[in-house]
C-alpha cells in the first residue's frame, strides 16, 4: 500500500463530508429564507398597514411594553399570521408527502395525489357541501371532516385492491388512478345536479385556497404534521435502499412491503390533513421534490426536509402574491403556484445537465 493510496482515501472521505455539509447548509438556508419570507409576508396585505406597524404588532405580543393599535393587532394576528402559518404547513406537508411517495413508489411522476387522495377528498367535500348547504347549513367542519375521511378511505381502498396482488407498485398506482376517475365522475354528477350556489362552493373548494386559515386549524395541524414528518424521515435509509430495487432492499434488511404501507399511510395522512382544510392545491407536491432532487441529489435524509421547506417557501410566496397582487381581490392560489412554480421547474429541467428521470 503506497502513501498515495492513503491520501486518496482521505480525499474521498473529505469530499463526502464536504458534500454532506453543503447539503446541511442548503437546508439551513431554506429554513432562514422561510423565516424571512414569513416575516416579510406579515407586513404585506390589502389592509393599509405599514411594515413598521405590522412588525410592532408582532413584537408587542412578546414585549408587552410596546405600543400597538387594535387594528394592527387584529390584522396581523387574526388574519395574516394564521394564513402564513397555514401556507407553511400546507406547503411542507405536500413537499414531504410528494418526496416520500415518489421514493416509495419509485416513480418520478407520482405526487401526493397519486393514490386518488385528492379526488377522494374532493368527492367527500363535494358531498358535504351539497348535503351541508341544503340540509345542515354550511358546516365548515362537516366539509373538512368529510374530505379527510374520503381521502383516507380512498387510500385504504387502494391498499385493499393492491393487497390481492401483493402490493406491487404498478397495482397501487393504477388502482389509485382508477379510483380517481370514479370519484371525479361522482363530483361531475354533484356539479351537474346542484344549484348555482352549491356549484359555486364546490368549484371554489376544488380550486383550493388558504383564505379560510384560522388559528385553531394551525394549532390542530402543527403537532400532527410535525410528528408525521419526523416519522417519515425515520424511513430515509429504507427509501434510499428501496430506490435500488426491492430485492436489494430486502437483502439489506428492509422489510419492503411493510415500509411501503407505512410510508404511504404517513404521506396520505399528511396530504389528507391539509387538503381537507385548503382544498386541492396542485403542483407543490411534484415541483418541490424535483427541485430539491436537482439541487441536492436523492438521499432522502436531506431530500425530505429540503423538499418540505421548499414546498412551504413556494406556497407561501405564491399565496402572498395571490392576496397582494390585485388588491383587494384574490387570485386562487392554485393558479399562482403554477405560474410561479412552472417556470422555475422548467428552468431546472433545462439547465440540469443530468437527466435523472430517464
Amino acid at each position: 500500500m503506497s502513501i498515495a493510496n492513503i491520501k486518496e482515501t482521505t480525499a474521498s472521505e473529505e469530499i463526502y463530508t464536504r458534500l454532506t455539509k453543503k447539503k446541511v447548509f442548503f437546508i439551513l438556508g431554506l429554513f432562514v429564507a422561510l423565516v424571512v419570507v414569513s416575516i416579510t409576508a406579515t407586513t404585506m396585505g390589502a389592509a393599509s398597514l405599514g411594515g413598521r406597524e405590522s412588525l410592532q404588532a408582532i413584537v408587542a405580543k412578546i414585549l408587552p411594553g410596546l405600543q400597538t393599535t387594535n387594528f394592527a393587532d387584529t390584522i396581523v394576528w387574526q388574519l395574516r399570521l394564521p394564513r402564513i402559518l397555514m401556507a407553511v404547513l400546507t406547503g411542507l406537508s405536500l413537499g414531504v408527502a410528494g418526496t416520500a411517495m415518489q421514493g416509495v413508489l419509485r416513480n418520478p411522476l407520482v405526487s401526493p395525489y397519486t393514490l386518488g387522495l385528492s379526488a377522494g377528498a374532493a368527492c367527500g367535500a363535494g358531498i358535504a357541501i351539497a348535503l351541508g348547504i341544503s340540509v345542515l347549513g354550511a358546516g365548515r367542519y362537516f366539509i373538512v371532516g368529510n374530505a379527510f375521511i374520503f381521502s383516507l378511505l380512498t387510500m385504504f381502498l387502494v391498499f385493499a385492491i393492491s393487497r390481492i396482488r401483493g402490493t406491487a407498485i404498478e397495482t397501487l398506482i393504477l388502482a389509485g388512478v382508477a379510483l380517481s376517475y370514479l370519484f371525479s365522475a361522482t363530483i361531475s354528477i354533484l356539479k351537474y345536479v346542484s344549484d348555482a350556489e352549491v356549484l359555486r362552493e364546490i368549484v371554489f373548494w376544488l380550486m383550493g385556497g388558504l383564505y379560510t386559515a384560522r388559528w385553531e386549524t394551525v394549532i390542530l395541524l402543527l403537532p400532527v404534521i410535525t410528528i408525521i414528518t419526523v416519522l417519515t424521515m425515520r424511513y430515509s435509509w429504507d427509501l434510499n435502499v428501496m430506490s435500488s430495487g426491492e430485492e436489494v432492499a430486502a437483502s439489506l434488511g428492509v422489510r419492503v412491503g411493510r415500509v411501503r404501507i407505512i410510508v404511504l399511510t404517513l404521506s396520505a395522512l399528511l396530504t389528507a390533513c391539509v387538503i381537507a382544510f385548503t382544498g386541492i392545491i396542485g403542483f407543490i407536491g411534484l415541483v418541490s421534490p424535483h427541485t430539491c432532487r436537482a439541487i441536492l441529489g436523492n438521499d432522502h435524509r436531506f431530500l425530505i426536509p429540503a423538499s418540505g421547506l421548499m414546498g412551504a417557501l413556494i406556497l407561501l410566496i405564491s399565496d402572498t402574491a395571490c392576496r397582494t397582487l390585485i388588491q383587494p381581490t384574490e387570485i386562487p392560489v392554485g393558479i399562482m403556484t403554477s405560474f410561479i412554480g412552472v417556470p422555475f421547474f422548467l428552468y431546472l429541467l433545462i439547465r440540469k445537465r443530468r437527466r435523472w428521470w430517464q
Binding site: T9, E13, V241, L252, G253, W357
Partner: protein, 262 residues
C-alpha cells in the same frame, strides 16, 4: 473446514410454478461454490432463497447452524451480502452513496466516521475510488458490477451471493471481478455462492460446482469431477470437448446442441 451455510431440502414455487425442488447444498467457510445449469434451472431463485429475499415454502437454510427463518432481516443482512445482476434505480445516487447503502444494516440514522471510512476503503480496494462522486447510471457495465460488489462488501458480510457477476462484462473485467472474489475469499475467509453461465470461469475459480437441472441438484463436486462430457450433455443438451488446461482444471469447448433434445 467449518460449515458456514447449509441449504436443507429447500423448495420454492412462484405461484403454482415450481422453481426449486428439494435442494441440498453445504458451503464451507472460505469456499467458492458455483451454481451452473441451463436458463430456468433455478440458480437465481436459490440465491434469493438463501438470502430470504424469497421465503422457501419447504426446507430450511441454516446460517452458522441457525435457521434463517428465525433470524430477523437485519441480522441476516449483516451476514449475507447479495449482488444482483446490474440494476440501477429510477433516482440515481452517487457511487459513494450507493456503497454507503451497504452500511444500512449497521446504521440507525446517523452515518459515523467509521461508516464513511469503510466505504472509502472498499472503494479503494476495488479500485473505483475516483468514481465516488459520479452517478451509478453513468458507469460502464464492468464499473457498475464493481460498485455493486463494493456495496455488498460494505455490509461486512461473511457470505457473498452473486448472480451472474460476469455476464455483460468484457473479458478483462470478467477476470478482474473473479480475481477480486478470489482475493476476498483468501483474505477475509468469506464464503461465496455464485450463479454462473461461463463454465470455464466457474471451473477455474471455484472449489466446487453445483449443476442444477429441472429445479433439482443434478451433480455436485469439484470442477474436475463434475464438468465432464456426460454431465454437460445431460444438463445442457450440448456436446462439448473437454480440455485439461495448465492448472489441471477442465475447460469446455462447446461443439453443438444435442439433436434429440429438440
Amino acid at each position: 473446514m467449518a460449515v458456514k451455510l447449509v441449504v436443507d431440502n429447500v423448495s420454492f414455487s412462484y405461484g403454482g410454478i415450481q422453481a426449486l425442488d428439494g435442494i441440498n447444498i453445504g458451503v464451507s467457510r472460505g469456499e467458492i461454490v458455483s451454481l451452473v445449469g441451463p436458463n430456468g434451472a433455478g440458480k437465481s431463485t436459490l440465491l434469493k432463497c438463501i438470502d430470504r429475499i424469497l421465503k422457501p415454502q419447504r426446507g430450511v437454510v441454516y446460517l452458522d447452524g441457525k435457521d434463517t427463518a428465525k433470524l430477523n432481516s437485519r441480522d441476516i443482512s449483516k451476514s449475507i451480502g447479495y449482488i444482483p445482476q446490474s440494476t440501477g434505480g429510477v433516482f440515481p445516487f452517487t457511487i459513494f452513496d450507493v456503497v454507503l447503502m451497504g452500511r444500512r444494516p449497521h446504521l440507525a440514522w446517523r452515518v459515523s466516521p467509521r461508516d464513511i471510512m469503510i466505504v472509502a476503503q472498499t472503494l479503494r480496494f476495488l479500485g473505483i475510488e475516483e468514481f465516488g462522486t459520479r452517478y451509478f447510471d453513468e458507469l460502464s457495465g464492468g464499473e457498475k458490477q464493481k460498485v455493486l460488489m463494493a456495496r455488498a462488501l460494505a455490509q461486512e458480510p461473511e457470505i457473498l451471493l452473486l448472480d451472474e457477476p460476469t455476464s455483460n462484462l468484457d473479458i478483462r473485467h470478467q477476470l478482474e471481478v473473479m480475481e477480486i472474489i478470489r482475493e476476498l475469499v483468501q483474505e477475509r475467509q468469506i464464503s461465496v455462492v455464485m450463479a454462473m453461465h461461463d463454465l470455464n470461469l466457474a471451473s477455474r475459480f471455484s472449489e466446487r460446482i453445483v449443476i442444477l437441472k429441472d429445479r433439482e441438484v443434478f451433480s455436485v463436486g469439484t470442477p474436475e469431477r463434475v464438468l465432464n462430457l456426460e454431465n454437460i450433455r445431460a444438463a445442457y443438451g450440448v456436446e462439448v470437448r473437454v480440455i485439461s488446461d495448465h492448472d489441471g482444471k477442465p475447460y469446455l469447448v462447446p461443439i453443438s446442441p444435442v439433436n434429440n433434445q429438440r
